[in-house]
């Protein structure tokens, strides 16, 4: 952050503050707030109890009501700070009737006091409702959704890398009739989005019996023209002499692919792998169409279904949103340089 501050206070040159300096300052300052703020708010909110979530105005941090064990009572009693004519003190609530609460001093459990609830506030400390995170896994299907998402992401990425790199190899390192046609075909479909072919694609996936199957989600996404295009561009830069040297060295064409070309394509494969993971993890529209049974939902579809219920249980929903966000944030933190370089270089997304 000190580096950020150093940048913020850096000026265009000269001693006077140029209007561009002020503008830069404002733009970047509000950017930190607007870009990070919402995600941070999501994370903070996800630890709040349902009661706290419905508070208005909301508190910044999650709090938990304090409870205390009092002699003579089986359950833990919630603590309140009471201030009335008798002064300020901390009491535990035994039961509440209308606007009046029966309360005891934990130090003196025998004497029950009657307090107007307007005169008391709950005693709270910063605390996290971990149940928001645990319950959906234990009581709902979120564990299943997560497994499905991991399966789809992993398998689709592996198949993408394998099939795309094989095709890119054939299209970059061999001369054959129709090669130009295939390359043009792939480039031409680079930008055909899924939304244009939803209906017929659905009928084809149904035709091969993959509706409500994770494979129905995986297969239509793996033959990405983008991947073939990216890998081919990279493979074109590998000198042909290396392949010829390998041929002189008794290597079969398959060995040339996996012992020579594939390792040398590793940087491009890494970029494609990262993007494939992010793409497949985030896919929404297609899984939404193909998957209509709960047990095959991916996280994104599950979240949407959960958010669409009449009585949204925000405390669970927010926690699950955080869970869904985590892998992508991890990828972002560790591989930011790769991703930004990949985008700047290829316009991939």
């Amino acid at each position: 952050m000190s580096r950020a501050m150093a940048f913020l206070t850096r000026r265009k040159g000269g001693d006077a503050w140029d209007w561009t300096d002020v503008f830069t300052f404002i733009w970047l300052g509000s950017a930190v707030f607007i870009m990070f703020g919402p995600a941070l708010w999501l994370v903070l909110s996800s630890f709040k109890s349902p009661a706290q979530l419905s508070e208005f105005p909301p508190t910044l941090l999650p709090y938990e009501a304090q409870t205390v064990a009092v002699e003579g009572y089986d359950r833990l009693l919630p603590l309140f700070s009471v201030s009335d004519d008798d002064g300020t003190r901390t009491l535990a609530e035994v039961r509440r009737v209308g606007t009046v609460a029966q309360m005891v001093d934990p130090a003196n459990p025998a004497e029950v006091q009657r307090i107007n609830i307007a005169n008391r506030t709950p005693v709270r400390e910063v605390g996290f409702s971990w149940g928001n995170y645990l319950d959906p896994f234990l009581r709902f299907d979120f564990l299943n959704y997560t497994k499905n998402s991991i399966f789809v992401t992993g398998v689709a990425t592996l198949i993408t890398l394998l099939t795309n790199s094989m095709a890119a190899f054939a299209l970059s390192k061999y001369e054959f009739r129709g090669r130009g046609f295939v390359v043009v075909l792939i480039i031409a479909t680079l930008m055909i989005p899924l939304s244009v072919i939803l209906v017929p694609l659905y009928s084809i996936v149904a035709g091969v019996g993959l509706i409500n199957s994770l494979w129905g989600v995986i297969l239509p996404t793996v033959a990405t023209p983008t991947g073939v295009f990216l890998l081919r561009q990279y493979m074109l830069t590998i000198p042909d002499e290396l392949l010829e040297a390998a041929r002189m060295d008794h290597a079969s064409e398959w060995q040339i692919y996996w012992r020579i070309v594939l390792p040398l394509t590793a940087p491009a494969l890494a970029v494609l792998a990262i993007f494939s993971v992010v793409w497949r993890w985030n896919d929404f529209l297609w899984p939404l169409i193909v998957l209509s049974r709960q047990e095959v939902y991916t996280l994104q579809v599950g979240l949407n279904a959960y958010a669409g219920e009449l009585n949204v249980q925000w405390h669970y929903l927010l926690a699950m949103t955080v869970i869904t966000m985590i892998p992508v944030v991890l990828v972002f933190i560790f591989l930011q340089r790769f991703i930004t370089a990949g985008i700047a270089g290829t316009g991939l997304k």
Partner: protein
């Protein structure tokens, strides 16, 4: 082992004929150099022998077996590429082992061979490094080592020295020759550098525009070039070639001089080209050649004189020592008649 025969090899890329019928026999253990200007087809010819390209027509035999249809992997040859083509993601050891592993050779045998080759080429300390960490000369050695461990029928070297600096090139040239003597294997070396060809070759194949111009030992090429092209290509600086008319025992040059032919040499009267190497001209008072000096390149032990014989006839002479000549001085030159080459109007050698 290692006798390579080419029968009428032709290669066309579309309408362009790159090789126009090459017949050649390379004997066992020979070091043959293919030399010629760029675009003459020498590298293409080497790639045909390697099996990396297929000839449009013709037959290639190795030790009497027709291998024209065989793939590169099955010809038992090894190649050193111009760029070395070392696998950048493998260590030097892995580079050398790759080809052997592909033939399912036992690991112990692979290690022995790599050890031997590494000792021979003095690259033992480099075995665990990657090509990116090596200098140009070291990469060159590794590339040769990768070929040696294969114990090939013949080595094919495609301009292997062209990426080295001048000094290193000279020493690697000598090392390659020594290596050839030591291994006794057939080697085919492609270069555009005639000094490389002259110093290394048992025999030189001079190629031009897809055709063999001459095949002979380096000294024979120098002493008795078969045609104008070889005469001009071999030797530095290039041979003086003058157009003229043969008349009896002498030749009347277009630039005016009348030069006698060697004793006992008779050529039919008519247009000829007469050639004398710059090194074979010497100062001679009253000599048959008179020319005006235009430029002198003093190299120390000898001087290259550029002179003008008049009527557009240029002349180069390499004179010993440091003759005291200035621009515009007139020199008179003579020569030993046996050093005169005469070529007919078709460019072929007459005498």
């Amino acid at each position: 082992m290692g006798r390579i025969q080419l029968h009428d090899i032709r290669k066309s890329f579309g309408a362009i004929d790159v090789l126009k019928g090459i017949d050649l026999t390379i004997d066992e253990g020979e070091l043959v150099v293919f030399v010629g200007p760029s675009g003459c087809g020498k590298s293409t010819l080497l790639r045909m022998i390697a099996g990396l390209d297929k000839p449009t027509f013709g037959r290639i035999e190795i030790d009497g077996t027709d291998v024209t249809a065989r793939s590169a992997a099955d010809r038992g040859l090894a190649m050193v590429f111009q760029s070395y083509a070392l696998y950048p993601h493998m260590t030097v050891r892995a580079n050398m082992a790759f080809g052997l592993q592909n033939t399912n050779m036992p690991k112990a045998e692979i290690d022995t061979r790599i050890g031997e080759a590494a000792r021979m080429l003095e690259i033992e300390p480099l075995l665990e490094r990657r090509p990116g960490q090596l200098s140009g000369g070291q990469r060159q050695r590794v590339a040769i080592g990768r070929a040696i461990v294969r114990r090939p029928t013949a080595f094919l070297l495609d301009e292997p020295l062209s990426n080295l600096d001048a000094e290193l090139r000279v020493s690697m040239r000598a090392e390659l020759s020594a290596l050839h003597d030591r291994l006794g294997a057939t080697m085919i070396h492609v270069t555009h550098d005639q000094v490389e060809a002259m110093t290394m070759a048992d025999r030189i194949v001079v190629l031009r525009a897809g055709k063999v111009e001459q095949v002979d030992t380096p000294l024979n090429l120098f002493n008795r070039p078969a045609n104008l092209f070889v005469a001009g290509f071999i030797g530095a600086p290039g041979m003086n070639l003058w157009a003229g008319q043969a008349k009896g025992v002498s030749v009347q040059l277009d630039s005016g001089a009348l030069l006698p032919l060697p004793l006992g040499v008779r050529v039919p009267d008519g247009p000829v080209t007469l050639g004398i190497r710059p090194q074979h001209l010497r100062p001679e008072v009253g000599g048959p050649i008179r020319a005006e000096v235009r430029l002198i390149e003093a190299l120390g032990p000898e001087s290259v004189v550029h002179a003008d014989m008049g009527a557009g006839g240029g002349l180069l002479a390499v004179l010993p020592g440091q003759p005291d000549l200035g621009r515009g001085a007139v020199i008179e030159l003579g020569y030993e008649p046996q050093f005169v080459h005469v070529f007919g109007s078709d460019g072929q050698r007459l005498a």
